[in-house]
Amino acid sequence: MRTWKVWEQQLARGISFLAAYSVIFILLFLLFVVFSKGLKALSWETIFSLPKGGYYFGGEGGILNAIVGSFYLSVGATILAVIIGVPAALFINVQLIRLKRTQNTIRYLLDALWGIPSIVYGAFGFTLMLLLGLHASLLAGIITVALLITPILVRAFDEVLKTIPVELQEASFSLGSTKTETALRVIFKQGLAGFITALLLAFGRGIGDAASVLFTAGYTDNIPVTLDEPVATLPLSIFFQLSSPIEEVRERAYAAAVVLTFFILLISVSARFLSKRYAKNIIK
């Protein structure tokens, strides 16, 4: 009896240990492949200069256009997604708390939006652009990517908000807060860690997506100065260089992936660090 329990515990522990480490192994392996191929092509020039003539034939230059472009685009889209998504998630969990059916319908639809290929978002964004008379530009890219990542942000955040005990809302309401105040000052804070996770997931999807911006953001060797100029992004730059006939250029694609990796790492570590500082208040 006892021994079986101990055995079961050891087994479960073993399995989950294996699972955790195989996930870690897979992830590190993937990063290893990227790094081993990309590091030798990585140089300061890659990071700090624009593509020069013939860059795509293995000539001089760098991918500064894509780095800055990705930064503009993903940060812009994430901000837009937060502006739309956070109130939406809070609305679902505070305003609609009694309306379980409505809540579930909204969740259902949002879940479905997760599964639509980003290409379709791209096509949708493109159609939208044509309607609005926009051409491929930073703005159009931001809007399209925001459309793509908002459902991710909302649902991932919502999943955490869902678990917050009602008593916490009761406490806030009984002090006379409105629903908005409760949502922003209490529920949001309690769900902060979840919000950061959701934010990073959405940001990750946004910065890593090539298909949705292919038609909407264009691709250019310049850094956009205004919102209506086309913009290059790292994933597109990677995509594009990977299809090059020249081996060195393909290596540069991996170098671009390495840059992207560091970029996300930076954002992730700082966001998580900040959230940790505030998350200590969370009621367990």
């Binding site: 795509y56 034939f57 051409h135 491929a136 038609f215 691709y219 090059s244 006939p245």
Partner: protein, 294 residues
């Protein structure tokens, strides 16, 4: 002055295949004409066509044959360079020495790729090795596959084989599979700098006259320059050789655009080879110039 600025800016979008070359052209052109600004973005041939037709850009970069539907919509085009699709095979394939000598005829390629009648090497006369033929094709809708299919009398979706994404992908699949057969744009087969074929992959010579062997005039695959020459002078059939275009909706009105196009089909042609494409033959270039001057 903003109107003037617009007059002096040329925007292009479209095929990735043409993007590096157009970027190169634009830079060289800018050196000569400092007042001109370029706005070039890549996004695929389809996007180039769509943008050009909706007049969101001045010129679309386009890498396959222009379809009748597109022509019906009033597309205007200028051929700017040339490329070709060449069938390939793995170097380590035991059949390769034989193939090198006898080549494959149009009909044999068709029976491998379109009808699917030939699935083993020994079905071909003169070959006794009983091995499967692993056929690979492009999965993404693209100029290369379209052109290859056009040569074999079909459309891209008629091509048999495992679909692999992208030119490098297809080359890679053939390199990895000893029994593999595929096709590629020239620059994915040859190293532009050395002029040699990339390691692991070999060309299937086309037996153009169908006499069962590769004659001297059919044997031009050794170096890149030889192939380019053969494509240029028509010794290599077209299709699978093809023209690449810049397109617009109707003839462009903007003077800057017209000037740039004119420069491309004249002076600009010297930059074509280093990008791995084939300069257009003289008479085709002349045709384009006339088209521009009309």
């Amino acid at each position: 002055s903003s109107g003037r600025k617009k007059e002096q800016t040329i925007s292009l979008s479209g095929a990735f295949a043409l993007y590096p070359l157009v970027v190169k052209w634009s830079e060289e052109y800018q050196n000569e004409h400092p007042g001109i600004r370029f706005n070039i973005s890549a996004g695929g041939a389809g996007k180039g066509m769509a943008d050009a037709l909706s007049e969101t850009v001045d010129l679309g970069m386009f890498s396959r044959a222009i379809s009748p539907e597109e022509k019906a919509k009033g597309v205007w085009w200028v051929a700017v360079t040339k490329d070709a699709v060449i069938p390939t095979v793995n170097v380590a394939n035991p059949v390769w020495p034989v193939i090198q000598k006898r080549g494959l005829t149009h009909d044999e390629l068709r029976r491998i790729y379109v009808t699917g009648e030939i699935i083993r090497w020994n079905q071909l006369p003169g070959i006794s090795i009983d091995e499967a033929i692993n056929v690979y094709t492009r999965s993404d809708a693209c100029g290369a596959a379209g052109t290859w299919a056009a040569y074999l009398g079909g459309r891209q979706e008629d091509l048999k084989g495992i679909g692999v994404f992208g030119d490098p992908g297809l080359a890679d699949a053939v390199v990895k599979d000893e029994k593999g057969v595929g096709y590629n744009n020239t620059i994915y087969l040859y190293n532009v700098k050395t002029g040699r074929k990339n390691p692991g992959i070999e060309v299937i010579p086309i037996d153009v006259n169908g006499n069962g062997t590769i004659d001297a005039n059919e044997n031009f695959y050794d170096t890149f320059n030889q192939v380019l020459e053969a494509i240029g002078n028509g010794a290599y059939p077209s299709p699978p050789a093809r023209d690449l275009y810049l397109v617009a909706k109707g003839k462009p009105q903007k003077q800057a655009t017209l000037d740039f196009l004119k420069w491309i089909v004249t002076k600009g042609q010297v930059f074509v080879s280093e990008a791995g494409y084939v300069p257009l033959p003289k008479e085709v270039l002349d045709e384009q110039v006339t088209k521009l001057q009309q």
